[in-house]
Symmetry: C2
Subunit: 151 residues, 2 copies
Amino acid sequence: MVFDNRSRLRYLLSVSETNWLAEVRFGADGLVPVVAQESRSGDVLMLAFANREALERTAATGRAHYYSRSRAALWRKGETSGHVQRVTEMRIDCDQDAVWIKVEQAGPGACHTGRRSCFYRKVEAGEGAARLSFVDADRLFDPAKIYGTHT
Amino acid sequence: MVFDNRSRLRYLLSVSETNWLAEVRFGADGLVPVVAQESRSGDVLMLAFANREALERTAATGRAHYYSRSRAALWRKGETSGHVQRVTEMRIDCDQDAVWIKVEQAGPGACHTGRRSCFYRKVEAGEGAARLSFVDADRLFDPAKIYGTHT
């Protein structure tokens, strides 16, 4: 189709082997949101943020790296818990300001509260106002044992 | 398990029917990131942002609403294109600062470039530096016809 001849190219013309990271549009805080999806189940495990270094290391090592806003530091997922994420696919969106990774989650879960996914509460929009309910919310590990503090 | 008796409750004690939105931790810009996943395929279609009103309307109407940062306005997905998103499930994460919705996408796609998903480029981390390649990148509609301008 006339409006889509570029999609037949295997590689983008404007983004070379070396400059794809230079084209990422980080926010004012130097970060982009990253969605981590479990390859096997298709469930979203977590949403975190990455700076340039985190994206670079994720691509280079095949292990998910983020930027911890609370600790203001590079965060190699699993560095404390051992629950590393092996990245099986990494995509960037149309605006180059969001990243989607598919991961194989090591250990029982991704969430610091002990759950498999951070998204263990559902908004139920029934009659009247919406409310929250737990879903897939069993704790699979004790965060106090892993992180040394009850979260 | 001792550390998880709360997960047996159907509803959260601290978040009532009416205040779940009050507990959402919006960023300094008043927004939270929202991951929209296609129910059927499990693919992530887009990552956008929502303000309080957008979350409220999404929960109340069952149709995805976002906040357009470029237009600085509430954005009812599909208001121009007709490509609305019917929300089949809505979840909030542990920190209450990210939202995951599963949607049925009306029309050919979610992306303003004409693709089904905004994530149509893959980071290939081969030997040496990573590069991008197209994946699932066919344009399913002509954005010029839908939006009146070529994007």
